[in-house]
Symmetry: C2
Subunit: 213 residues, 2 copies
DNA sequence: ACCAGAAAGTGGACACTGTCCACAAGTGGC
DNA sequence: GCCACTTGTGGACAGTGTCCACTTTCTGGT
């Protein structure tokens, strides 16, 4: 239907862009079924190539998953950016700061609700921590964590947060929205309607803002 | 080494307690490697029984995992209870309420740090929501969620929380600690030292307490 | 223009998983 | 003592990740 190009058997022996094709296929599987659903052989099948061909581009299934996770993280970052763009820096820096924080939280949560599979994949197995890996970023060149830091910086600069309270505040804020997202996606709250989750998210952001200082 | 009893080939054709043996084996696998590591065939092997024997007690691997998850949830509840027992209701109900909330948060997080595999298993795939399943509880007969509710009730009763703010507050509080735990276990913070995670946890609980009202 | 060597993909095999089927071995009620 | 029922066995199958030896194609140096 969509990328028929990869299904019709190619004429050339070389695929030309296999690595990308595999990641794309893997991304689709992650979208549909989360990290456990990204399956190496299936990816090669969709790329119209033998299973072992994948090993020319990835050391194994784990590395393929790593690449897919990276792609998922980029999507998360993009969603946050989109949300942040709704607010412009105006004459009230405190309002701007608050809106930034809200945008990060709600962008994060919104993506989790919209693309559960990708979200779960993005935060599944141990990635190499805070690597400033440019592959995880969107157009602003910041990963989700850095976008959050930015929002918190604005809080501090506008006087909403003391220097002391600012320290490590990203972890506190992040935990909050991430936790709600996970509980709603694969935890005990998975039957809660999305609107309610998002409503809780609103309260959560307020709680963070109030509780941080 | 430990439960040799299940390894030496039994004399009777019947195992006698196979279901339990399978869950126990599964629990050990979950402890060591999280939900993905609980493998049906391996459980039967450890129980000294043929793979198919498991199907007399579970419809399939998923059901075995369900049972293991239930057991993990019990452990979480037990850990929270242990933490709560440290504080007794005294002449200051507000302090008691605060301590209860702290106990829930820190008990939860502490267990996550001590038993990452079990914790991840406990909150992995969709369980049947808020079923008051007695299998998930510890000695007080309350599951982790209910223990949290109890702590929040104490907050309200002691006047620390208004009726309006009390509503759905468990979700907000829960999200917070759960999020930190997940980020620390299988998220980008997995290299953060446990002491730091727990220190963040302390701040987090304070933030919740301050932010909820 | 050649041609060696690297890069990319193929085919076959292996061990492992979950699961299905038909069958055997004990057990309990009448 | 028999017979139905539960529990466990054995053999099979498809699907997975991965290793090995092999072939096909591309590329760069002479």
């Amino acid at each position: 239907m969509k990328k028929q190009v990869s299904l019709q058997k190619r004429k050339t022996f070389r695929h030309g862009d296999l690595r990308n094709a595999l990641v794309t296929a893997g991304l689709e599987m992650a979208r549909a079924g989360g990290p456990n659903a990204v399956i190496l052989r299936e990816a090669t099948r969709q790329a119209g190539v033998s299973p072992n061909a994948a090993y020319r581009h990835f050391a194994g299934q784990t590395e393929l998953l790593d690449a897919v996770r990276s792609a998922c993280l980029s999507r998360v970052a993009a969603a946050i950016e989109d949300e942040m763009k709704k607010y412009k820096a105006g004459r009230n820096p405190q309002a701007f700061a608050r809106n930034s924080l809200r945008a990060v939280g709600m962008g994060y949560l919104g993506f989790a609700m919209r693309e559960p599979g990708m979200f779960r994949t993005a935060f599944s197995v141990p990635p190499p921590v805070h690597s400033p890996d440019p592959a995880n970023t969107a157009s602003m060149g910041l990963n989700p964590f850095q976008l959050l830091s930015l929002a918190l910086d604005r809080m501090q600069e506008s006087g909403l947060l003391s220097k002391k309270d600012r320290k490590n505040a990203e972890y506190l804020a992040w935990s909050t929205v991430h936790g709600l997202a996970m509980l709603a996606l694969e935890g005990p709250l998975h039957k809660m309607p999305r609107e309610m989750v998002l409503a809780l998210g609103e309260r959560l952001v307020v709680m963070v803002e109030r509780g941080l200082s």
